[in-house]
Amino acid sequence: MLKSAVFSCLCLSWLQGYTQLVPVSLPQAFAKGWHAKAQFAGSIGFLSLGAGRSGKKLEADLWYGYVPKSLGGVPIHAVTAKATWLPVKPVYWKGVVLRPLSLGGFVSYTPGSQYFLFNPEQYPFDYYSYPTAGHIGLFAGGQMAIQPQKMPRLGQWAVYYELGTTDVRVASYFTNTSSLTLPDLFTLGFGIKRKL
């Protein structure tokens, strides 16, 4: 917890320095095209790498996420498909360009002999009515475009955050609203995006 908090704060404070420098032109910031992303946490990996395509208001990416044994108890790999809807047009604010609202969802698959998509043969038919290898998630968040002034060749970058939830948290929370609380429902993820 401490390590991830320090890491997040350092990344954000470093990026915040760059956002003071130069505003990004509105049309370029979130243009259509291919992109690559890297994300911290957000239930799809400790660190995840993704690539996909952005439209005017929609993004779709495919990810590979990894949690090392030291952080997950066992090495955890995840392949995730994510879709993000950005219903609000880019907003120019105090020297940065924001997409203030993102809404999206993901489907994630974790390979491993301890998980299953369909009940293995040892069980009576449909003993467990859910897959343990797959999870779905929903999130809301925002994006902010950045462009380092002194290094224009680095290209178009954005940072984003996602406040998300997963199937397990939703299934647990909505049957226990008098016991679980909203912080139990949500987790946080941070990422960066670069236009390709």
């Binding site: 917890m1 991830s4 908090a5 997040s8 704060c9 954000l12 404070s13 915040q16 320095g17 003071q20 911290f40 946490a41 957000g42 239930s43 799809i44 990996g45 400790f46 996420g65 949690v67 952080l71 997950g72 108890g73 066992v74 955890i76 995840a78 974790t110 301890q114 998980y115 293995p120 040892q122 069980y123 009576p124 003993y127 467990y128 859910y130 343990t132 999870h135 997963t166 397990v168 948290r169 299934a171 647990s172 049957t175 226990n176 008098s178 016991s179 679980l180 912080p183 139990d184 949500f186 987790t187 946080l188 993820g189």
Partner: protein, 271 residues
């Protein structure tokens, strides 16, 4: 000066956010990354139990299948904390519904508010995904035993279906050793496990062996279970050993078990 101030306040705001919400980052729903205070819970509970002064009549509680029944857990804790004379609680497995760390943390966050200690055995749902690793790190060995007040308590993994009925679960050689090696000053033997031997999830090839092991012990013998989500009590094998199965937490019932010299009394209660 102003830009520097903005940087500092920005950093502080981020630090407050990062530290204020406990466990705000989740790398995977399948992660086993337990915070401090959520490890070796059975050992700590057993130490508390064994530090209690021995009594002529020991009263403890049997609950089971807490899986995703958090408001019922809250109510149970409030109810039991108003009840006197109870030494500890046993949770007969299916702590979680999906074998996930978040669920186990939610359960312990409630049961730790009990004024008495609790021990938990592993259920079939607790063996899903990385659940076995989670249980072992959070609670301890799947098979465990301890003595107190002339009673030998044994917790054992009986979820044979989760290992394809391989014959290794339950570990009957271990159970035999625990039962027969209990010592002369042991008058009661209590075995706590999730899957009852008469359930289809228990290895048919090991059912009679389990029952016979218990039946041939001296003194009082009890076998306590969960899993079936309804309560029952019966001498299943007509051999003097009573098998008591508690309902799931959503049924809002539990068993009060009293052990005394030469006998026992079991009573089902609601909350």
């Amino acid at each position: 000066m102003l830009p520097l101030l903005r940087h500092v306040t920005g950093l502080l705001a981020m630090a407050v956010i990062c530290f204020s919400c406990k466990q705000v980052f989740e790398y995977s729903p399948n992660e086993v990354r337990l915070p401090a205070g959520y490890r070796n819970l059975n050992a700590a509970a057993i130490a508390r139990i064994q530090a209690l002064p021995a009594k002529d009549t020991v009263s403890f509680i049997l609950i089971g299948d807490s899986q995703r029944f958090y408001k019922e857990l809250d109510d149970f804790v409030a109810h039991l904390n108003k009840t006197s004379g109870i030494s500890f609680v046993t949770l007969a497995g299916d702590i979680t519904d999906f074998g996930l760390q978040k669920e186990a943390i939610w359960v312990h966050d409630r049961l730790k508010r009990l004024q008495v200690p609790y021990v938990a055995v592993i259920g079939n749902h607790d063996m899903l995904a990385n659940g076995r690793l989670l249980y072992r790190e959070m609670y301890g060995p799947e098979d465990f035993s301890f003595n107190w007040a002339g009673i030998r308590f044994m917790g054992i993994n009986t979820n044979s279906n989760e290992v394809g009925y391989s014959g290794q679960i339950p570990n009957l050689p271990w159970l035999e050793q625990q039962l027969t090696g209990a010592g002369e000053n042991i008058s009661h033997r209590v075995v706590i496990s999730h899957m009852p031997p008469f359930d289809e999830g228990f290895d048919r090839k090991l059912e009679q062996g389990f029952a016979r092991l218990l039946a041939r012990q001296p003194g009082v013998r009890l076998s306590l279970h969960g899993h079936q989500h309804v309560s029952s009590r019966r001498q299943h094998y007509a051999d003097g050993v009573e098998y008591i199965t508690t309902a799931s937490m959503n049924k809002r019932s539990y068993f009060l078990v009293n052990l005394f010299k030469g006998g026992y009394h079991v009573e089902e209660r609601s909350f």
